[in-house]
Amino acid sequence: MDLATFLIQCLNSVQYGLLLFLVASGLTLIFGIMGVINLAHGSFYMIGAYMAFALAPIVAATFGGGFFATLAVGVVLAVALGYVLEWVFFSFLYDREHLQQVLMTYGLILVFEELRSLLVGDDVHGVKAPPLLSGSLPLGELMTYPVYRLFMSAVCLALALGMYLVFTRTRLGMMIRAGSTNREMVQSLGIDIKFLYRIVFAAGVAIAVFAGMVAAPVSSVYPGMGNSVLIVCFVVVVIGGIGSIRGALVASLLIGVVDTFGKALVPEVAGVLVYVAMALILLWKPDGLFRAG
């Protein structure tokens, strides 16, 4: 492996890791704060990718189009979706056993996949990157690197930074952190925990949908794409420590590196490497790297 290939693999692993982080951060928030093991989180990623495909012509007809307008419309829809979902399907489940919520989210996966199949069909689609970002940068003498992937990494990084600031610097972030530590205490201080949950859920859904939309031009859009990302994101959440945004960032970058370099260097065992890494880390630190609360 020469230097240029190595650099490209590094960029790829960072980009994959950051994308994982976007999906996993919503998962870890919903998990850590609301205590909901949300198996349907991968479906939101899938919904995002399909939105990038299906909304583009509609947005083009109404607003004159463009990739970024589609992104904006998609995120607004996703927030609404998350808000309504929490209200209809989860708001009555918090006092029940966790496994009941698992069952509920499993049902939601099936429903989302079939609705997707009814509305958009089962074909594999491609989404074009916006013309502004479709070029590629030369790297070394022979290699090039697509600008869009760099853009993805930058967007993910900006979003991660934004989340960090919201968490550590704002009142909302403080309430969320407090809610994850002690629900009753926060409630007794006069904070509407139900509304807080609804916001967290909607934000988690919106971030996952956004991740799906951004990833669509790179990964193509296909049925079942949510399931494959879901399990890897659970691995990230658990390695990072449940409820910890910082942990999710570190863990997703780690998984990005392990997976990308594993596929490049030892393709025979690449599939299992991520799980070996998780098992080793959990045997070393049974609560994950950065446990919140």
Binding site: R96, E97, G107, R183, Y275
Partner: protein, 345 residues
């Protein structure tokens, strides 16, 4: 637990097994095959119920043990002509149990959600071993060359296979019923409700949990052995996390904390699948059977907090009026059977 309720439960189990024993008289070949498959999944779900309901350990990688049992059957049969079930079945069960022992020894160091994920990780490792190495025949899977025989019966045929599966199901159900009522089972129940307290009273909990995990994995392997003989074919999908998820869903759907819950859950899950898949009922829409299954699951979560097992109770409450009954008959099932709930909540 009052006496009439107990006999009601016993009556249900006896009636269910009697119905299963009489079913071949009225069944066609399709029905016989379907019910054999469902009974195999019921064995699988029962093995998981020992962990989830009996011990409070949620294993999300149970398909690995099922798949190892199935693969062991096919690989050990090899080129042999109709090997005897008397050694083949124990061999498959021991393989699954041995893997469960190894996985349990490591993963029981973690707790709650971390335990769920570590068991998933070990299952994924097993999945990739059969998926990517020549040992397991890759994605295509392998065929069972010759179905085993038991005392002159060819198990490749539908009826003997049905009988064998029913016998195994009854055996597993009976075994677990005895185990859960034994001192060992009581200790597991104690671990489920409060592990700290169990340790304080002088129980070394780790060996108990490990024994339960190994037994559960071995029984799942038994299901896998039967599955391989019935289908005559194994592929890596048997070990996939979808399979682990499906069996967990069966246990939750039926109702955690009751053996018959796993039984009911396996039947309900498979029959719902058949119902929504059937073109006779839904016509062209049967292609989208996941939608119906998903909605049925969501409705059951919304209306049945205790799973399908709680259904008669819910009806009684409706008839008698909620206030007429004192506290729920099983307070500990609600308060303590939430292994993944963090202590701060």
């Amino acid at each position: 637990m009052t006496a009439p309720l107990l006999s009601g439960r016993l009556l249900f189990v006896v009636a269910a097994f009697a119905a299963l024993a009489l079913y071949p008289m009225v069944a066609g070949p399709y029905g016989l095959d379907l019910v054999t498959k469902i009974m195999i999944f019921a064995i699988f779900a029962l093995s998981l119920e020992l962990l989830v309901g009996g011990t409070g350990l949620v294993c999300f990688g149970h398909a690995a043990f099922f798949g190892i049992g199935a693969y062991a059957t096919v690989l050990l049969t090899g080129e042999r002509d109709a090997p005897s079930l008397l050694w083949l079945m124990p061999a498959g069960v021991i393989c699954a149990g041995a893997y469960a022992l190894a996985v349990g020894a490591l993963s029981l160091r973690t707790k709650g959600v971390y335990f769920i994920m570590v068991t998933l990780a070990f299952a994924q490792m097993a999945y990739y071993v059969v998926h990517d190495t020549p040992l397991g025949g890759g994605t295509d899977g392998i065929y069972l060359m010759s179905p085993p025989s038991l005392a002159g019966l060819e198990l490749g045929k539908a009826l003997p296979m049905y009988g064998l599966t029913l016998g195994c199901l009854a055996g597993v159900f009976g075994l677990l019923a005895v185990v859960l009522r034994s001192r060992f089972g009581r200790a597991l129940a104690g671990i489920r409700s409060n592990e700290q307290r169990m340790r304080a009273t002088g129980f070394s909990t780790y060996p108990y949990k490990l024994a339960a995990f190994t037994l559960s994995g071995a029984l799942a392997g038994l299901g896998g052995v039967l599955f391989a003989i019935k289908d005559g074919f194994v592929n890596p999908e048997l070990l996939s996390w979808h399979q682990s998820g499906a069996v967990l869903i069966m246990v939750i759907l039926g109702g955690i904390g009751h053996l018959r819950g796993a039984l009911i859950g396996a039947f309900a899950f498979a029959l719902l699948q058949e119902l929504f898949k059937s073109e006779a009922v839904f016509g062209a829409f049967a292609k989208h059977w996941h939608l119906g299954l998903g909605l049925a699951i969501i409705v059951s979560v919304a209306l049945l907090p205790r799973g399908l097992v709680g259904l008669p109770q819910a009806w009684r409450d409706r008839l008698v009026g909620r206030t007429a009954r004192p506290v729920d008959a099983q307070p500990d099932a609600d308060a303590d059977a939430a292994p993944t709930r963090s202590a701060t909540r």
